[in-house]
Symmetry: C2
Subunit: 358 residues, 2 copies
């Protein structure tokens, strides 16, 4: 199975287009419809006729709200179609052919696909389940050279849902500031952390991104943002202008409503994630895994992730093999992306396949 | 005024954020709210909870509908956030540093900004108002060399709203097929043509794009599509996956509704464009211009486009200087992007500024 994360995901959409019924535990979202209040905000904006071109940076009220959340100013913010675009734009700005980025693995392999598309390399600091997937900052620094332009931290991490220690993150930030290397901190799952939900405070040389796909259940909308140095934002806005142009105003209205109700909305998603994780841990008793610090991925150890993934697909359930997250062939990633009534029987099926192939 | 098309547009948004009241005749849309039926389709989709991640290529019913419109198959189609993304993606796929694209001017300078962002050059075949801005195919072919990867035709043209002759387009298609050069045909304004609204039939080696921003009044939504060879589409979908991910399903619902009511919706916009153009021609009697073949730009000749643009801005009206469309310094572009009650007095003000600076 030499498919990338996305080829795999598109293959599942293909099978569905052909009429196959597949329970998708491969999709990185909580599997909940966007809360009513957010959808209503968008509908109200549509009713108000907010349907024309808008600023490529974002609407002022939303920029201000995001800025205040991160201790930054509006000039440090750009609204983006998902945090993925923010990552792509930052990497495009920073990378030339021959450059590299460094990040701990297992990792969200989109970073590597993006880097490669700019002729750059992605260097991985491997971490182990036995260490709760924590990285050694020193080992990371040893991979850095003159061609390293960005250190990427995805914290909490996709696919493990574990959080990096505050000490390690601090060490990276200090080292990077000293070496004048940009740190891209992808906080897509921060609002789903069971330990600490505070979003990172902006500081110079740091690019923070988050998404509304996860905790706000807005994956299909394409809603996220970037907080970074004003000159980085200026360049990102220039790229926005020649690519997607703007995030729709009605989408931004839903985002603003979400941020205004942040604790209510993200808290509800987080609680649902906790419930699902508890059920999952019941089913997977006796299987090895690092206990997630956040929603909604589960990354158990298996005999052979690629073949188990195929066997699970034969049962009508899509999961993702660990091989696409940096060569973790003895793992599979389950996205707990359905409510319990659908999720629990699916997890039991997966457990059975794992046991049959132990 | 060394600003690009988009820096200029963002500057106007900035002035507005500061509270300045500006009538924007610089924005490339018809200035109408999206028709009710289309907004309702989106709201219905939101109500149905179609808010999760979707295919990076597009939803099957919409792909099929677009394909049938262009005599193609679903595998030849990708739904994109505007036709701009389609252009960007095609150019990114085709261009390496040192390559070039060729296109007639005056032209939508986004093509050049995109090409430059990939280290490629944009070569212009200049055309003249006196020739109704028609290009000489032979002059275009003379600019082609081994590094030419794409010929771009924007027909009808932004900023002139003139159409290229069918003979010229045919000559380019035949030449390009013979030379194995991709033709990117940007039909953003086709549905607003006063002469011929038939969208181009797909053929091998041709990439056709259009947008819902103009005739469907959906500029802020970011809705468009690409029709091209299946292998081009595959690569575009891979790029979609690591950038914007998907066009929202509720946006695609509005697009599908629009295509289903194509003649009703685009006909209404076209008629409105005709009315505005008639009013505009009244106001600009005695001024030189090539008569538009389509909505909704007006490209009159003036003494000095840059300084006239600034003087018009002092009157609270934003227009675009011809210099950003390939060095047409003796022109300005007016987007007839407001209903008559606002448009007519603004046009009269512009006419006065032009006369005062003749």
């Amino acid at each position: 199975m030499a498919l990338t994360l996305y080829q795999l995901s598109e293959k599942i959409f293909e099978l569905e287009k052909q009429g196959k019924k597949i329970l998708r535990l491969n999709i990185g979202d909580p599997g909940l419809v966007t809360p009513d209040a957010l959808r209503n905000a968008a509908k109200k904006s549509l009713d108000a006729g907010e349907t024309r071109y808008a600023s490529a940076q974002g609407e002022k009220p939303l920029l201000d709200k995001i800025a205040s959340t991160h201790g930054a100013e509006a000039q440090n913010v750009s609204v983006t179609p998902g945090s993925k675009w923010a990552c792509y734009a930052v990497l495009q700005l920073m990378l030339k052919p021959g450059d590299n980025i460094v990040t701990p693995a297992p990792f969200w392999s989109a970073y590597e696909l993006m880097a490669k598309s700019f002729g750059a390399e992605c260097r991985l600091v491997k971490t182990e389940m036995e260490d709760h997937f924590q990285f050694d900052p020193q080992a990371l620094f040893e991979l850095v050279d003159a061609k390293t332009k960005v250190i990427v931290l995805n914290d909490p991490s996709n696919p493990t849902s574990t959080e990096y220690g505050a000490e390690s993150v601090k060490a990276v930030l200090e080292y990077a500031q000293d070496q004048k290397i940009l740190v891209l901190l992808d906080e897509a799952y921060r609002d789903l952390s069971f330990k600490k939900n505070e979003l990172m405070t902006y500081q110079e040389g740091l690019a923070i991104t988050t998404t509304f796909s996860k905790a706000y259940c807005m994956s299909g909308w394409r809603a996220g943002y970037l907080v970074a140095d004003a000159d980085v934002i200026k360049k990102v806005v220039s790229l926005n202008q020649i690519t997607f142009t703007n995030v729709p105003r009605f989408t931004q209205a839903a985002m603003l409503e979400g941020l205004t109700r942040r604790e209510e909305v993200t808290g509800a998603t987080r609680n649902e994630c906790k419930k699902r994780l508890a059920a999952c841990e019941q089913v997977f008793k006796g299987i090895q895994y690092a206990r997630p610090d956040a929603g909604f991925y589960f990354f158990p150890k298996v005999s052979d992730g690629d073949s188990i993934t195929e066997k699970i697909l034969e049962q009508g359930i899509a999961v993702t093999p660990g091989s696409v997250f940096g060569g973790y062939k003895q793992f599979i990633r389950l996205s707990l992306s359905h409510p319990l009534e659908k999720l629990t029987p699916a997890l039991q099926t997966i457990r059975r396949v794992i046991d049959e192939n132990a």
